[in-house]
Amino acid sequence: MNHHPLQRHLTISAGMHVIPLALLVLYLLFLNEKLSETRKINIKLLETSVRVDMVAMPEMTLRELKTVNVSQVNDNKGGSAESTTKVEAPIKPDDIVMKTETSKKDFKSFLKELGQKLPKNEKKGTPKGTKMNEDLRADLRNLVVAGNKLSEGRALVGNGTQSNSAEFEKYLGMIPDHVRPFWLLPSYLKKDMLQCRIRIYLGRDGMLLKAVVFEPSGNEEYDERAISAVQKASPFPVPPTELLSKVLNGEIILGFPL
């Protein structure tokens, strides 16, 4: 019975200690969360502000770029497959983290070059000049295809460590942009939400060997226009040698639109 008051005091005392402590812990947790939130915000702010303005606004308009794009494509038809290899963006092996800058600098200097050299070259028409023109056009085409974007950078990993499938993914990633300029529909076919899939077989130089309807849309004209787009898009980007078997065996199917 003697214990009784003591016990009560002890409980009260314990309670009086535990409750503030618990409150303190809760408060600290809350504070921590708040802090981490602001930290997150700060990091975000930092991230956004670190990406400094390295580049000017695009000088050429979309329409100007498009006309260059078309003439480049036409050149391709007549020329060898060599020019298509140039189209591929140069990604250096150790182009690891500082993503935007290289591409941005390239873009700026290339625009400068373009501004200065293109008109001169046209006047002179020297062999050297035309070569430069072709290079520029290839670059430009790339640019049009990439939508003039400020890339976050794709080269997180060097080429040396890239596996076969990553290579394949990269190659596949180039194809939609390559075909889309030729993928055109009249309005009466656009409104019906049709879809078909075309299987393509490519040669080692990227030339189209065969294109067959894999899944028809149900509308013959739609399928024909899809096939015709694929045919006009040939030659395709030159496939890397290790992927030859895949593209030769028709392992790529193009979805129009999906």
Binding site: R63, L156, R180, P257
Partner: protein
């Protein structure tokens, strides 16, 4: 280090496989999505009998706006026809036409019948009858929209309106800028406000029934506070919506038209707030020592684009307007001075103007910060772009210097890729801030 690279590699593959570009199917082949097709222009024309020639001209001019979709051929002389007759399909087929819109007088003098002919299938796609009232242009636009919807299964801009500010009533000594409204093609022009002050940054509600705008009052008024007004299109009355000390401007309606986003400077710094129109209750959306102005909202209200001085100069930011400083991200990283970002209706693109080579020009960027393209060049100084509700057009102002003292600024419409179509204002002084109704 090697392990890190492997992990990164795996991550990249993982991301790519979810990016939707390519997708592995069970039998070893890979499907690559090419994406939406571009459009081949459809050739069309509009024909009419002698009674409906006036409407024919308007419909042909309507369709000519869609330069990316239609090639409108010369309409030619009136043709006679009766309501039950078909048209000479082989004649139009030989001209390479896909569609013919035919106008005929209806059963009585006020009735106009529109027939939409598909030349390829030799069939009548649709037929509708309208009644002439005072506003012939309104009837013509309604018929155009009907035909457009039958051909493309989506709404056109033919029935939309454009509001803008013009200084035509002012003089150098007493500048006056009032608000005007017109059809999308610039016709049917009317003056909406009579403040004898300077109207700024107007904006339509989503249902087109209200307009918010800001006002700097004229010389006879004490104080130069910039107040926000709301105009009722039906009653033609304006009332003050917000008059905090300083700036109350750049307002846009949120979905549902019960709330607006606006910029006020009553805290000492320009910040963006959400305001309930009935209760006038304010909720702060941005909070940063740098000024935040010019909010624009996507259709479902989930994204706000705005202009902020955070990086030391005006750049475009996005945020989620449901919270304060929520998901703030910068999307423009270039440009000396960017201004007036406006969302496309689907929220995927933003048009804005940017200072380049001593004038403003119009640029477009995707809302994920990719795809920055320039749309205007060597075409005067171009500002205040705004997307049409269907995303096919951009209205903007273009200024031409006439002499060292004077310049004229008109409102133009261009296609979404920068195809200049035509001006829609003429002899209206300097026009600014076009805004498109839904």
């Amino acid at each position: 280090m090697k392990i890190l690279l492997y992990v990164l590699n795996a991550l990249v593959i993982f991301c790519l496989s979810f990016s939707g570009v390519a997708q592995e199917t069970s039998d070893g082949v890979t499907v690559v999505a090419v994406g939406e097709a571009g459009a081949i222009k459809a050739r069309m024309t509009v024909v009419s009998d002698t009674k409906t020639e006036d409407i024919k001209e308007i419909i042909a001019s309507d369709f000519a706006f869609y330069v990316r979709t239609f090639e409108v051929l010369d309409t030619g002389a009136p043709i006679t026809g009766t309501l039950s007759q078909t048209i000479d399909h082989s004649h139009y087929n030989n001209k390479g036409l896909s569609y013919v819109l035919q106008l005929l007088r209806g059963k009585n003098d006020n009735a106009v019948v529109l027939k939409v002919w598909d030349i390829k299938s030799k069939g009548l796609l649709a037929e509708v009858e309208g009644v002439r009232e005072d506003n012939v242009r309104g009837l013509a636009h309604t018929l155009s929209d009907y035909a457009y919807q039958k051909l493309l299964n989506k709404k056109s801009v033919f029935k939309t309106k454009i509001i803008f500010v013009s200084d035509v009533l002012g003089s150098p000594k007493n500048p006056i800028k009032e608000l005007y409204i017109s059809d999308f093609d610039g016709h049917n022009l009317r003056q909406l406000t009579r403040h004898s002050g300077n109207v700024l940054s107007p904006s339509f509600s989503n249902n087109g029934k209200k307009i918010v705008y800001s006002l700097i009052r004229g010389q006879n008024f004490r104080g130069r506070n910039i107040d926000l007004f709301i105009y009722d299109v039906d009653s033609k009355k304006s009332e003050i919506l917000s008059s905090f000390p300083g700036i109350n401007s750049g307002a846009v309606f949120l979905p549902g038209d019960q709330e607006v986003l606006l910029t006020t400077s009553h805290s000492g710094n320009a910040e963006i707030y959400r305001m309930n129109i009935k209760t006038k209750e304010l909720t702060q959306i941005t909070s940063h020592p740098a000024p935040d102005v010019d909010p624009s909202i996507n259709r479902d209200g989930s994204l706000m684009a705005f202009l902020s001085g955070r990086p030391g100069k005006a750049e475009i930011y996005l945020s989620d307007p449901s919270g304060m400083e929520k998901d703030v991200r910068r999307i423009s990283f270039v440009g000396e001075f960017n201004a007036t970002p406006r969302f496309s209706t689907d929220g995927k693109e933003i048009v804005f103007s940017s200072w380049i080579n001593n004038s403003f020009d119009i640029f477009r960027i995707n809302s994920d910060a990719s795809g920055l393209v320039r749309l205007t060049k060597d075409f005067g100084s171009n500002e205040a772009p705004v997307f049409s509700p269907d995303g096919e057009f951009i209205a903007f102002t273009s200024q031409r210097v006439i002499s060292s003292r004077s310049a004229v600024q008109n409102i133009y419409i261009m296609g979404r890729d920068g195809e200049i179509i035509r001006p829609i204002t003429n002899k209206m002084g300097n026009c600014s801030t076009p805004r498109w109704s839904n």
